[in-house]
Amino acid sequence: MSLTQATRVRGERLLKYIVSAPPFVFLLLFFLLPALIMVVASFRYPGEFGGLAPLFGDLPADEKGLTLENYKIFFSDFIYAQIFLKSIGVAALTTLICLVMAYPVALLIARSPKKSRDLMVLLCVLPFASNFLVRVYAWMIILGPFNLLFSRFAVIVGMVYVHLPFMILPLYTNLEKHDPTLLDAAQDLGANGWHRFWRVTFPMSLPGIFSGAVLVFIPVLGMFAIPEILGGKDDWLVGNMIKESFLGTRDWPFGSMLSMMLTIMVLIIAALSTAFAKRGMRRA
């Protein structure tokens, strides 16, 4: 390697560091650090008026230092696990409904003439132009007269409504890339419309389904505003518990513990589904 080449390589490496440094520092400061604070907080005692109790000082032994108490509470009462399971159920159902509703829309857009596709995508994300809470309150007005408010149904409706675009967009991005001659080939080789969809279009869209599912499932799992506005007391999800711990009972360590459990659960589900999807996707 010549000297100038070596200099250039070193220069390129330096440039790479310089370019990636700000986002790296940003993530370190505003993502990793708070996450670590949360981990530690979940092992501490609550302060008297919210916040955390001091680690050291002139306090009784069961009010300072680190403790497993928060986790013990979680595992001692089935109600917490129940709320987690309910949340997973709501998230899974929302994801499924979003998928079923988004698929025809995404397919329609992907198979429309190129000119009109951008407009249709724009229409899908247009609701984002108005405030999230306003849109959720709008559902109160819609569902109120039918006596459907404050129910699991209303929660699911709100969840689906808010997250539908997050399913449509990745699906559309995937479907749009499909080579239309593949469908011609399938038909030519004897596949009717049903088989063309289930044997060609659908399996090839699995990566899009996977991205869409992640983008819907995870936010729904942590969502608290929609159950609070549209749901009844019975429809509390993990997000509501966490929010209540911080802002209601002001038990920060307990809220941190719940957040930790949520994070761990999401990671487990993500790991499982990635392993599962990898098999399917390696082919696509």
Binding site: L182, D188, L189
Partner: protein, 360 residues
């Protein structure tokens, strides 16, 4: 009875006539080629046979049955697309098994047939690979195997060798002929490469602007083209404006300032007809101007250029009237690639029965 009849088929896109009153039939077991320049309507015709498009006029008849109301998936016709259109999420095996699955054959039947098909295209060791893990030639073979596996009455191939490099293309041509001969399925092959068409086909339909210019066996197309388009499109040809001077056992043509030549008789030609005299470069003899030639047609010119391509050298000779004539000389004497130098005076000549007079 012919296997496939294309009966006076026309297809228009708005005002543009893509396929113009095309009429021909294909026999069972035949390797039939549609040859023509880009945009002449080959793919449009093929899509109508496969059922993806409908003729505006005329009919497409297979085994005596009009296919008008038969959808593509129901036609016993398969297509090998130029891009191969292999399913990217299926292995080689699964791709090849697809038509059998659609035909609801039993697992056992499918397993046996796929195994045989894989062996036939020498892909046994690639059965569980995905298309993106294959080379261009291997993908080509998968597409062929998939198209042939449930023995369609007709296999349509739309420029299937277009994406391959020259060497592989030649190899695939040989495999294609062997496969077609072994399996006996009728092929309709589309290409714009005339050498490929000549090498592969039993019969060739030369198309231009949506019409068939000539339909013949390869040697007839090359040896007796019906018009200038075909003469020019198939192989290399020398073309010179000519007028008929007299008609007897042979034609006497006037080549303008160049003088007169004798040419083979052609039915229906009258004195005074204007057209073109065409002759293939390999029919033209070339020797030093000082040597005599026994041929009745001969001119002296100078070597303007030559193209050495290994086995043969094409000499481009300037004739006295300023026109050019190509003459081809095989380089069979080793170490001797060049018989003449630029500017050398040479004598070009040909027999009275060589070449042809074309009015169209």
């Amino acid at each position: 009875m012919a296997l496939l009849e294309i009966r006076n088929v026309t297809r228009r896109f708005d005002d543009f006539v893509a396929v113009d009153h095309v009429d021909f039939s294909v026999n069972a077991g035949e390797f039939f080629t549609l040859l023509g320049p880009s945009g002449c309507g080959k793919t449009t015709l093929l899509r109508m046979i496969a059922g993806f498009d409908q003729p505006d006029e005329g009919a497409i008849v297979l085994d005596g049955i009009d296919l008008k109301d038969t959808s593509p998936e129901k036609r016993p016709v398969h297509t090998v697309f130029q891009s191969y259109a292999l399913f990217p999420h299926m292995t080689v095996e699964q791709n090849i098994a697809f038509p059998l699955k659609m035909a609801k054959q039993s697992e056992e039947e499918i397993r046996v047939k796929v195994k045989n098909a894989l062996a036939q295209v020498a892909l046994n060791d690639r059965a569980t690979r995905y298309p993106h893990e294959l080379s261009g030639g291997q993908r080509q073979r998968v597409a062929l195997a998939r198209g042939l596996i449930n023995r369609p009455r007709l296999l349509l191939l739309d420029e299937p060798l277009g994406a391959l490099d020259a060497k592989l293309r030649e190899q695939m041509q040989i495999e294609l002929i062997a496969l077609q001969r072994d399996i006996g399925v009728t092929f309709i092959f589309v290409t714009h490469a005339q050498a490929e068409a000549l090498a592969l086909s039993h019969r060739i339909a030369v198309m231009n602007h949506g019409r068939i210019e000539q339909l013949d066996e390869p040697d007839k197309l090359y040896g007796a083209p019906k018009n200038r388009f075909v003469a020019d499109f198939i192989g290399n040809v020398n073309m010179h404006e000519a007028t008929v001077q007299s008609v007897s056992a042979t034609l006497t043509l006037s080549l303008g300032k160049l003088g007169q030549i004798a040419a083979p008789m052609r039915a229906g030609v009258k004195v005074g007809d204007v057209g073109a005299f065409v002759i293939r470069p390999e029919q033209v003899s070339i020797r030093a101007a000082s040597e005599a030639s026994p041929d009745p047609n001969q001119f002296v010119g100078t070597v303007n250029d030559f193209l050495y391509i290994g086995d043969v050298t094409t000499y481009i000779v300037n004739l006295p009237d300023g026109e050019r004539l190509e003459a081809l000389l095989p380089n069979s004497a080793p170490g001797r690639a060049k018989f003449f130098e630029l500017g050398d005076p040479v004598r070009v000549s040909w027999k009275a029965e060589a070449g042809a007079f074309l009015t169209a």
